[in-house]
């Protein structure tokens, strides 16, 4: 087992005191970046990239990847406490995490989120350690048609698996697609739906939409309900961590399923955000407590967090072995690799053993350190909810505004955030789900792009989506997911008929 020997060598590299220090600093910075909405992992890593030029490449990548882990952990904090996703992939965590906080179970939700993140990452790292070359070869099979089929599966499972009426989900999703279409059309290179406003050149940034829809929308709702902050009865209990840990093993099936979904989405490469949504949707359908999802079910926190972290971790593999980033943050890390004189690609694993295995070892240790850091903060974080709403709301508003501004350093984005806030409020009042809208803004562009790339390649023939086993299977899975409710009903009727007869 050459890999194992390499890995232990990697541990030796990582366990140098300087590298451990770099790791802790990275995690702390990452958590801060993850907590601040807008200042996402990609921005954070980009800002800190130049600091690492004076380090050895191994220390540098350890620091940057730890910022990435920290951001993955940190994104859950504001989602649970304030219903404001700090990172795109923590949107699904708000669905059950925030209701839990409102019921005074913030500590429990945070512990579940952090622990699940850790489990997801660990699963993905073990996979990377054992089957890296296989995975790289598998990722090569993904052309435009295959990529589209993965997006198709994500959208379909969303419609089929959602508890809201499918028509409302579709309406919300279509609005998302329309918003995603604004800006430059990647395929023809022409501007769409900008109506001559140069402010709209860049389109609607996903983060601004999320900050507005969730953050501002939530504040408006709470204000309407009379400024009462429902989480204030949260008690500070240092033992909550252990109590939650005792409960978590019960959800091992959900956990395992979410790990697999996460790794799959991270490699294919759709990324952490759809992974978290898909995992949540499937857990909601499959779980015995599914009807309780959205009202503060701990399983509803476990599923998306595990998948997001598994996807975030496995997204690094295509970056290292193929040079194709699986996420925006991975894209910045990729730039870093090139600056340090390392060429990501098939030869990286052969030529730069110390670097690659040092990085993989740092994934193990970084996540462990990260878990330790954030878990110790749980009681402290849960205590934030004791601050009266009238004090915390302005702070959240200011943070949201700063976050929206930081995305592109553009004051116009703050106005856009406020508009999205009103939209979010109206959506919630009319009982339209926000998640499909968000999913469509995130993936709409990429899905459209791969669809059109595939059709360009096949000269307009739709058969390209059934042209080989891989793409055909994923498309069929997508259709099954889309029509799941009907199939399910039909199946139960048939069974009933059979028993009756």
């Amino acid at each position: 087992m050459e890999e194992i020997a390499n890995l232990f060598h990697g541990f030796a590299v990582v366990l140098q005191p300087f590298n451990i220090l770099v790791m802790v600093v990275g995690i702390l910075l990452g958590v801060i970046i993850g907590v601040l909405p807008g200042l996402g992992g990609a921005n954070g890593v980009a800002i800190l990239l130049p600091l690492t030029f004076s380090m050895s490449p191994t220390s540098a990548i350890i620091m940057l990847s730890c910022i990435y882990w920290g951001a993955l952990f940190g994104g859950a904090i504001t989602s649970i406490l304030f219903n404001i996703p700090g990172e795109p992939w923590s949107v699904a965590t708000t669905f059950d995490g925030h209701p839990m906080a409102q019921q005074g179970r913030a500590g429990e939700a945070l512990t579940a989120a952090f622990t699940s993140s850790f489990v997801g990452a660990l699963f993905a790292v073990v996979m990377i350690t054992l089957v890296a070359p296989l995975v790289a070869r598998f990722a090569l099979q993904f052309g435009p048609a295959e990529k589209f089929s993965v997006y198709f599966l994500a959208f379909c499972s969303f419609i089929g698996m959602s508890k809201e009426p499918p028509s409302k989900t579709v309406v919300s999703m279509m609005i998302g697609f329309a918003l995603a279409a604004v800006g430059l059309d990647q395929v023809t290179g022409q501007l769409r739906l900008t109506f001559g406003f140069t402010e709209l050149l860049a389109g609607f940034d996903f983060l601004i939409a999320v900050i507005g829809l969730f953050g501002i929308g939530e504040i408006l709702l709470t204000m309407e309900e009379g400024l009462s902050f429902r989480g204030k009865k949260a008690s500070i209990n240092p033992r909550v961590v252990f109590q939650t840990w005792a409960e978590l093993p019960r959800y091992w099936v959900t956990s395992l399923r979410s790990c697999v979904i996460g790794c799959w989405m991270g490699i294919t490469p759709a990324g952490a955000t759809p992974a978290s949504f898909m995992s949540y949707g499937i857990a909601k359908r499959v779980s015995r407590k599914g009807h309780n999802f959205g009202k503060g079910e701990i399983e509803g926190v476990v599923a998306p967090e595990t998948a997001a972290h598994a996807a975030g971790t496995s997204a690094l593999l295509p970056m290292l072995s193929l040079g194709v980033p699986g996420s925006p943050t991975a894209a910045v890390l990729l730039g870093g690799l090139l600056i340090w004189g390392l060429q990501p690609g098939p030869l990286l694993f052969v030529e730069q053993k110390e670097f690659v295995w040092g990085l993989i070892a740092s994934m193990y240790l970084g996540n462990l350190v990260g878990l330790f850091v954030v878990i110790t903060c749980v009681p402290l974080l849960a205590a934030i909810l004791r601050i009266p709403f009238s004090i915390i709301a302005p702070v959240i508003l200011v943070l949201c505004a700063i976050g929206a501004y930081t995305v592109n350093n553009n004051p116009f984005d703050i106005v856009m955030m406020l508009v999205f806030g009103v939209v979010g409020y109206v959506f919630k009042k009319c009982n339209y789900p926000l998640a499909p809208l968000v999913l469509a803004i995130v993936l709409g562009d990429s899905a459209e792009e791969s669809f059109r790339q595939a059709l360009l390649g096949s000269q307009g023939s739709l058969t390209v989506f059934w042209s080989n086993g891989l793409v055909g299977t994923i498309m069929v899975l997508g259709l099954i997911a889309l029509f799941w409710p009907m199939l399910h009903t039909a199946w139960s009727r048939m069974r009933a008929a059979a028993t009756a007869a």
């Binding site: 300087f18 220090l21 770099v22 600093v25 910075l29 801060i32 954070g44 980009a46 800002i47 800190l48 990239l49 130049p50 600091l51 030029f53 004076s54 380090m55 090569l140 099979q141 993904f142 052309g143 435009p144 800006g183 430059l184 059309d185 990647q186 395929v187 023809t188 290179g189 022409q190 501007l191 900008t194 140069t198 050149l201 860049a202 389109g203 193929l322 040079g323 194709v324 980033p325 925006p328 894209a331 910045v332 990729l334 730039g335 090139l338 600056i339 004189g341 060429q343 990501p344 690609g345 098939p346 030869l347 990286l348 592109n408 350093n409 792009e449 790339q453 360009l456 390649g457 000269q459």
Partner: protein, 339 residues
Amino acid sequence: MTSPNRLFGLGAAALGTALVIASALPSSAAWEPTRPVEIIVPAGTGGGADQMARVIQGIISKHTLMKQSVVVINKAGGAGGEGFLDVKGSRGNPHKLVITLSNLFTTPLGTGIPFNWKDLTPVAMMALDEFVLWVNAETPYKTVKDYIEDVKKAPPGQFKMGGTGSKQEDQIITVAVEKAAGVKFTYIPFRGGGEVAVQLVGNHVNSTVNNPIEAVAQWRAGKVRPLCVFDGKPLAYTDKIAGDKAWADIPTCKSQGLDMEYLMLRGIFMPPGVSKEAVDYYVELLKKVRETPEWKKLMNDGAFNQTFMTGADYAKWVENEEKRHQGLMKEAGFLASGN
């Protein structure tokens, strides 16, 4: 090795997006920046322009070439139009630079946004990026001639050319190749050069015109094969890269009967209306950047054409290049209405 305190301090400072405003330095003689300098990148993170901006940033801070810090900001919206409009709107601001690629010409021509390179102040050409025609190494094509003959035999549009973006350099080259060889490709635009290279390795496209740095890793791994380089003379780098092959061994496309040359500008500009002293300061600064080993390594890795130009020469070069792009894009039918 960086000390822990300094490291954390630096991190905190950078996190605040360099809110640190150093006290004004005693004015000795020449102009110097008094605030952190922004480099606008009119492209996404991880691409060629972004890498170059971040290398420059790293070199300046590592060798303390400037008393103020450098901040890199990506404004990629609308094929970089967002970044260019931002710089155009910062008239007289001597603390802002922009690093350009060919979208300096192609974006205004292709989308019709109100911008022209003459709205900016040219500072220096840092390098020119090369383009190479690549095929998958599993295919039998050893020369351009083999490949083009097969493309000719197939029905028009059956062969797929992958490239970065739409109506930008890769597609312009594709159209020019079609004209020069009398063939027809189906051009498929992707988001980034790395993705394009992987699509070629996975056989989802038949050929690409990747920059050297985008495809070098796959070449070294024996997954792709270079057929020719779109430059007037072969590349200058003789180090062995893949097996016994060096960049210098790739023939020019012209010598292979494919008459097409294309180089992409990697240059620095400033907002309009800045003082000559400020421009001179940055020219000197960039000259120092070019002398560092880190810069030389980047040039070597990416097999760049290391032409350096400033002042009137540079402006003249850009002007010619704009005319050329206008011609190329007009022929290809890429001009937005009104251009």
